[in-house]
Amino acid sequence: MKYLLLIYESESVGNGLSEAERGKIFQEYMDYSRGIRRSGNYLGGQALQPVSSATTVRVKDGKTLTTDGPFAETREQLGGFFLVEAKDLDEAIRLAAGIPGARTGSIEVRPIMPTPPVD
């Protein structure tokens, strides 16, 4: 079963960090990724540019509307994700709890909807 682990954190907290602190967090993420690759849970993962770089797109009556910024202004912003394979929600929760951002922000665990095979 696949789960998407969405990492939400307040960007303003991250902005206030020193270079050394940032380096430490980067290292923690590297270690975490290596660990879940080794355990066979890792399917993918990326960090995202800050929401100041986000564009939201909607199509209304065939017309594409773009707005600057994220879909919704929230206290914590989506900053990255991991796509993992886990045997059940308990394992997915354990994986989520290991993400460094779980200590400073929140991880949303979303099961991936199974799709029928395409011919």
Partner: protein, 405 residues
Amino acid sequence: MDFEALYREERPRALATLIRLLGDFDLAEESLQEAFAAALQKWPRGEPPRNPRAWLVSAARHKAIDRIRRERSLAAKTAEIAYLGGGAVSPSELADEPFPDDLMRLIFTCCHPALALEAQVALTLKTLCGLSVEQIARAFLVSPATMAQRLVRAKGKIRAARISYAVPGSDDLPERVDGVLRVVYLVFNEGYGDVRGRHDLCREAIRLGRLLRTLLPSSSEVGGLLALMLLHDSRRAARHDKSGDLVTLEEQDRSRWDRGEIEEGRLLAEEAVRRGGVGFYALQAAIAAVHAQAAEATLTDWPQIAALYSLLLRLHPSPVVALNHAAAVAMAEGLERGLRLVEELEAGGELAAYHLLPAAKADILRRLGRRADAAGAYERALQLVTSDAERLYLERRLREVSGAG
């Protein structure tokens, strides 16, 4: 044969096994219902089977397979029936205690922390206690449609997020047991806090407590919670007067307390304390046991209660526990001393919206004979109180301290 008793006794375990075998809550509940209906027809006429649960599980499984055959398209069907292992359940597979872990699986799944607390409660009452959607809706003062939706969403999440049907590993077990106890205690309090007529919830919670105790006999918190519920429930007949008004512990007619429940609760509380590792529930049970031992309110061993509250306060610090501690200190060590503790809490501000703070203060002031101050505190409590029963009690006290004399 007492079919109602058999249903109550066998239903949770049979259902727990069926959910594992069928992998679907609704299918398991519906087929078990059908199996019970078949048994009701069949058993009174002949000998009931030696192992009714095995019979029910087996019959329900066949009914589930029939249902799938009827309802699903051929292609989907073949795969699913293969998964269900279409054949008969072997007798050895369904020995006297076929799958002792299944009930644990069901309890831990219903009380999984990834489900909203209210959904955990609803699911527990529906599957483990066998209450109808209407009964649960009535108990929680929501419409049956809302409650039905809550259950559908919970079962949907179990399926979609793959909440496993499993007993947690030893690492997670203590935390998960706490979660289960929280649900059971919430069910109990929901029934106990109500003035009239929701004793069914208390009864279900006590039944769940007994069940948990058979499954986790060595947990002092499981025993402690069961003891706590029994000791509180023992006062049921004395808690309200003829007109339904609340009677405080101090004023209750103790001859109306249920001796059987007190004895059982007291033994369980003692056992929990002896076992060590006492926590939130065992300590509260111990406090309730001390109250239960006093034949009259004036004979209450307040120093022991104050000591137990101070232990509880150390282990589970909260303003509400601190308030109870203060009230016990007032009785054990002197009213002035208790009053000072209550005033410290008042200054802390955390309980600013909690009616029992001014109510406790008012009671101490009343005992001190400071009637005008007591009246002021009762008035403040009345501004905050939400339950009608407590309002009546506070109004009566206010009249007493405001009256002539």
